[in-house]
Amino acid sequence: MKEGRPASFYWLAIVFALFVLFLYGPTITILALSFQGPEGGLTLPMNGMSSFWFAKLWAGVGVIDIWSAFARSMKLGLAVMVLTVILCVPAGLAYRMRFRGSTALFYVTIASLIVPSIVVSLGIGFEFRLIDEAVKGLAEAWDIDWLAESYTTAMGLFTSALGAHLSWTLPFGLLIMFAVFNRFDRRYEEAARDLGATSWQTFRHVVLPMILPSVIGIGLFGFTLSWDEIARTSQAIGDRNTLPLELQGLTTTVTTPEIYALGTVTTAISLAVVMLALAAISLLRRRQARHGSDAGKGLV
């Protein structure tokens, strides 16, 4: 029995279309404006078409070395991605067994997601300042000259900033693992064990291939959340900024379409990562469908 669409469908469809326009309209506008001609300004209409502003961007934006900020963000994003995956997958596995403190850790994880980022960032900032004080104090107390002279700070891209980013990406990762294992059929593992697989073999050859699409999802969260992160990084980065922090600074100083060109580049990278991940996920799903169960296909 197929029914016609109710009138409300069309109204809601219009609202939905407007919402999509609201969501994408501004971004598409600046993507277009980044191809402004050399005479063009920050607003429409387009004043010719050129890649002038990209060329200018390539040469560098004012005093800021945008490309090394770019490289720093890229490196940090990749590190966060890898660590998020290799910390969250085992943690997700652990939550399938009973262990003391699991509830407390669960609440800490949720808290890390919802405590305002500025508070976390400030705390990490303190932590590293106190570490610095302690190291300097010790170096002086014990007369370790080289340390006292050369030591500046422990704060940096791969210490405090990395930690700050992980405090933001790990909760997402663990929640995805929960969602995965809540829908996971344990009989596959039991079958593997019955066939004599060790724990590692069961994980490597049965569980991992099945959860791989979600693991890629966790990696995607890790990279893109880190790539765009500002609030948690702000107090925990030290003296060399990541790309989003530089971008935030540029919003007040740059008044040419150059900033749109930069926007186009960073958006393109985000989208490329998302598309890559989605493509990988759908590829894996399709493979699973092909190689998965042969139930119902007959005996021969």
Binding site: Y95, P116, V119, L122, L166, R193, I230
Partner: protein, 315 residues
């Protein structure tokens, strides 16, 4: 589905079998600890410890040159200076919280309304699962791109010579360009909704997709109108999704300083911005006191929201 994640790892079969074969393997509890230890350690070092330190430092005293470990309530007194004595006139802190609370309420109301309508359309009106997934992705993909870029993408539309003003002037609707479109409260709310509506759509859509469609049929068979079904069946069953989305939106807006900074032209006060400014002047103890107060306010709001639902059931 719906079993309490982690807390009562379902299948008792596994437990029994685990006991039987545990002689050969690592005890299960030890294995669990080993697996979860790195994760827990990172959160301990970069979340629990920093928050604890913030709490401690908020009681330290400081002057222009140094910070001294001690126990003083001066920082808190400083935050609330004149707040009680000068009532009914509001002190800076109360004003800032009031302004932040206004943003919270308006952004929450807008994201909830729009998010609910969009999710409802996706969940109940789009019939093909493939189209449903595609449209859901359309709604979520912007979430993965840079927030700052999405903020500045409003400039060509809302600026003094932007599209909106050009259109209005061309239509002779206004004589002069409207100034309050950009770098204003309006712009801040608009950007918040634009940036964070995903946090509302995803959990509400998730809740809606779990609603057994037979319930809707039953409601209709029992004579409920579309509107009655919506109010008495769909909305109550979406409550968990609504609560999760609300928690995200409210906490983000409460602690924000980036969006308010960029979209408010660095002119609008917010709690997060106060903390940031104090830190940049190295006034750590008072920044910490502000952070602790902010945290307390946020936790109270969340506590209120979790009274409504048990969030753990929803994962």
């Amino acid at each position: 589905m719906g079993s309490e994640a982690g807390v009562s790892p379902a299948s008792s079969l596994v437990e029994e079998r685990g006991v039987a074969s545990s002689a050969a393997r690592l005890p299960r509890a030890a294995a669990a600890y080993l697996l979860v230890a790195p994760f827990a350690l990172v959160l301990l070092l970069f979340f629990v410890l920093p928050i604890a330190l913030t709490l401690v430092v908020s009681f330290w005293s400081y002057n222009e040159y140094s910070i001294t470990p001690s126990f003083t309530l001066e920082n808190y007194a400083g935050v609330f200076e004149g707040c009680v004595s000068r009532l009914p006139e509001l002190c800076t802190t109360f004003k800032t919280y009031l302004s932040t609370a206004k943003f919270c309420v308006s952004v929450w109301a807008l994201t909830l309304l729009i998010g609910f309508i969009v999710s409802y359309f996706l969940a109940f009106h789009v019939r093909s699962p493939a189209v449903q997934i595609a449209l859901f992705l359309v709604c979520t993909i912007p979430f993965w791109t840079s927030n700052v870029i999405r903020m500045i993408s409003w400039i060509p539309l809302l600026g003094r010579n932007g599209v909106v003003n050009q259109t209005l002037t061309a239509m002779r609707a206004t004589g002069e360009p409207i100034e309050w479109l950009l770098y204003s409260d309006f712009a801040v709310v608009l950007a918040f909704v634009h940036l964070f509506i995903t946090f509302m759509i995803v959990p509400i859509f998730n809740s809606m997709m779990r609603i057994d469609r037979r319930l809707l049929e039953a409601a209709r068979d029992a004579g409920a109108s579309g509107w009655q079904t919506l109010c008495n069946v769909v909305v109550p069953l979406c409550k968990p999704g609504i609560a999760i989305g609300s928690i995200f939106v409210v906490t983000i807006v409460m602690g924000d300083f980036v969006t308010i900074g960029v979209m408010g032209g660095q002119q609008i006060a917010s709690v997060g911005k106060v903390i940031q400014v104090e830190t940049s002047y190295l006034q750590f103890p008072i920044a910490a006191a502000n952070a602790v107060i902010l945290l307390a306010v946020v936790l109270m709001v969340i506590w209120g929201l979790t009274r409504l639902v048990d969030i753990r059931k929803e994962l």
